[in-house]
């Protein structure tokens, strides 16, 4: 099996059907030969039987009382009888007549069992000199004397014909098999040739050229199916490569900004001379940027660990409203600073099962955003509720809303709706993607609704009940 495993598929296919075909052909040839042999024997026997009857008529006693075969007056036809071997035995077992063709050959003693008169018995005998002879025995009486006639005919022509046939088959069969094998190999090669070209194309597709696709010959056959599946995989790969590329580019851009600040602040301060207070200020300013870098790196790490599924969730059950109040309690002060009102309402009976800290983080991010984007004196509403299978928290701001073209991308990493917002104010653009991850990790989702009323509503949905356990189980697995 191992040796077979090293052969190519088309080699294996060819071998397999050549083997099957030879088996069938050999069986067929054997059957045909056996059939032929039987037919030839039957013909021979038929002829012997006819001849034995002719010979019975030709046997007579001569003047000396010896048995003679009267062939003198026979026509051409009957002279054919001459190659026959003929013996006539007396009932007592002595030879009464031997045809001259027999010469020294011994047909052997006839079977002794009494056969019925007229009954023909046939058998094949191999003589001492190797000749195969078909013998017919028969009881008869000549002028009242019972005798046994044995007529033999060489089987040589029969075997010659048989072996001719066998050798024709033996030569023809391998040639045929060879031809069929070759043709099969060519067919297999042709059938598998698209695979080869697919493999070649696939080899050419590298990380830099993920845009390439395999040609799909016939979309309905197996190869077309394979090509399609492969292309879909390539598509996914291309998307994730693209995501990774964008993420890396964005991340390095975000990292570069505070680094530039640190560098320029430091360089400029060294060109001046100032008092201790001045330098303290400079160092402080550099530290602020370092803190920003730290936080950015922390967010990136959180995200990469989340992507790798390496943040284990600590499940507890708690009322969602409590969590909302807790998160609001943290952010509330920012709303107060902007004279915004923060309103929380909802059903205290809505209980979810999840990682409280992670969900709290998700909610804090949403609330922080809502306060940030609502105007002075605006309002931020938080509503907790549930339907049949899901608990939800709505965070509604009174901001300007999100333009349609940005809506699908607000959860993307580093994506900022308002590019002009400073990084200090707008953050790194990771908050929403972290929130989304946190909710996804609980089998839920975050929805954005900007179509109803001024401002936007972010809705966190988390499955509850058995549904929740199932979905969470899926995520963990």
């Amino acid at each position: 099996m191992n040796a077979l495993g090293r052969i190519s598929i088309r080699g294996r296919l060819t071998l397999l059907y050549v083997a099957l075909l030879s088996l069938v052909l050999v069986l067929y040839a054997a059957g045909a030969s056996a059939f032929l042999l039987r037919n030839l024997r039957e013909q021979l026997d038929h002829r012997l039987n006819e001849d034995v009857e002719t010979i019975e008529g030709l046997l007579a006693l001569d003047s000396n009382g010896h048995i003679q075969l009267m062939t003198e007056n026979l026509d051409e036809d009957a002279r054919d009888l001459r190659p026959h071997f003929l013996e006539v035995w007396s009932a007592t077992g002595s030879v009464l007549y031997r045809s001259p063709q027999l010469g020294e050959r011994d047909l052997g003693t006839p079977p002794t069992q009494a056969a019925n008169p007229g009954r023909i018995g046939q058998r094949s005998v191999q003589l001492a000199d190797g000749t195969c002879v078909r013998i017919v025995g028969r009881r008869h009486s000549i002028d009242g004397t019972p005798v046994r006639i044995r007529l033999g005919l060489s089987e040589e022509p029969l075997w010659r014909e048989f072996w001719q046939m066998v050798s024709a088959l033996a030569i023809g069969l391998p040639i045929g098999l060879l031809l069929i094998g070759g043709a099969g190999y060519a067919v297999a090669r042709r059938a598998l040739q698209p695979l080869d070209s697919m493999a070649k194309r696939a080899e050419e597709i590298t990380a830099e050229r993920l845009g390439e696709r395999l040609p799909i010959g016939n979309p309905d056959d197996e190869l077309g199916h394979l090509a399609r599946v492969f292309n879909e995989t390539l598509g996914r790969l291309e998307r994730s490569f693209e995501q990774l590329r964008r993420f890396t580019a964005d991340a390095s851009h975000e990292l570069r900004t505070p680094l530039t600040a640190i560098r320029s602040v430091g360089e400029v301060s060294l060109q001046k001379t100032g008092d201790a207070e001045y330098y303290r200020d400079i160092v402080g300013s550099m530290l602020e940027e370092a803190n920003r870098l730290t936080r950015l790196v922390d967010s990136l790490l959180t995200m990469s660990r989340a992507d790798a599924g390496r943040i284990p969730l600590q499940y507890t059950e708690f009322p969602l409203l409590d969590l909302a109040k807790e998160a609001a309690g943290v952010i509330e002060i920012l709303a107060e600073e902007k004279n915004q009102s923060m309103i929380i309402e909802g059903d205290h009976r809505v209980v979810v099962r999840g990682d409280r800290l992670i969900l709290r983080q998700a909610l804090i991010n949403l609330l922080d955003n809502a306060v940030k984007y609502s105007p002075e004196g605006g309002r931020v509403e938080i509503r907790v509720g549930s339907d049949a299978s899901e608990a939800f928290v709505d965070v509604r701001d009174s901001g300007p809303g999100i333009p349609l073209e940005h809506r699908s991308r607000v959860f993307d990493r580093f994506y900022r709706v308002d590019k002009s917002r400073s990084r200090g104010e707008g953050g790194a653009g990771l908050g929403l993607s972290i929130s989304e991850w946190a909710v996804h990790a609980h089998g839920g989702r975050v929805e954005l609704d900007c179509d109803h009323g001024p401002g936007c509503t972010f809705r966190i949905r988390i499955p509850i009940g058995q549904d929740a356990n199932r979905k969470i189980g899926e995520r963990v697995l």
Partner: protein, 226 residues
């Protein structure tokens, strides 16, 4: 108090040494795991600050070997890898606490104090700074004998500052200790800033001697002005 710092990055090592010396610790710096191991097993120390990623013998190996020789002194581990497995590996090897790089020096200093204090009764917090008084039981604050109304959060914030009187506390420490926010990725710096500003308005604004100070780029501190 003698502290051994095992840290291969020269800048970080030197900064730690100088910073801790400024806090009146006797500090020895070892730039490699081998040297650190040699010093730790030949001289008495009260605490070891150990970097995990060291050239040659790494921190975990040094630590577990030290623990096998029966060394009981507290070890604070520094790690650049913010991964649970590394923390678990460190704590398994016998570390008493860990700190993820990059960290604020104030944080390191607080952790060291906590480790050195471990097992000893907590020194009573100073409840009086200048004319500011805190009643930790009744949870009230007064300045110059005048009652100051503070919210619960402001009280916790002030208490944390007062407990760390004269030392700088970072926003990260405040987020963790006062807001119980464990994830460094949650942005509540602006929340903290607003609370500090309000607290300052209440306890400092009307008074000549200011107590709460912002240390730019680091955090906040409460101290009596000389």
């Amino acid at each position: 108090m003698r502290i051994l710092v095992i840290e291969d990055e020269p800048k970080v090592g030197k900064a730690l040494q100088e910073g801790l010396q400024a806090e009146d610790y006797d500090v020895k710096l070892a730039p490699t795991g081998e040297e650190g191991f040699f010093l730790a097993s030949s001289q008495p120390f009260d605490l070891i600050v150990l970097d995990i990623l060291l050239p040659g013998r790494d921190g975990i190996e040094v630590l577990s070997t030290l623990r096998k020789t029966g060394m009981r002194i507290p070890v604070l581990m520094l790690t650049a890898k913010d991964a649970i497995e590394d923390r678990v590996a460190g704590l398994d090897a016998g570390a008493d606490d860990y700190l993820v790089k990059p960290f604020a020096f104030a944080e390191l200093s607080a952790r060291i104090r906590a480790l050195l204090r471990r097992g000893k009764p907590e020194s009573p917090a100073p409840v009086r700074i200048d004319t500011l008084e805190m009643d930790l039981v009744a949870r009230t604050v007064s300045r110059d004998g005048q009652r100051v109304d503070v919210t619960a959060r402001e009280f916790d914030l002030l208490e944390f500052l007062v407990r760390n009187k004269g030392r700088v506390v970072s926003r990260e420490m405040l987020a963790r200790e006062v807001w119980k926010e464990t994830s460094r990725a949650t942005p509540i710096d602006n929340v903290i800033d607003v609370h500090v500003a309000r607290l300052r308005r209440k306890v400092d604004d009307q008074f000549k001697r200011k107590l709460v100070h912002t240390v730019r780029g680091v955090g906040f501190t409460i101290r009596e002005e000389e």
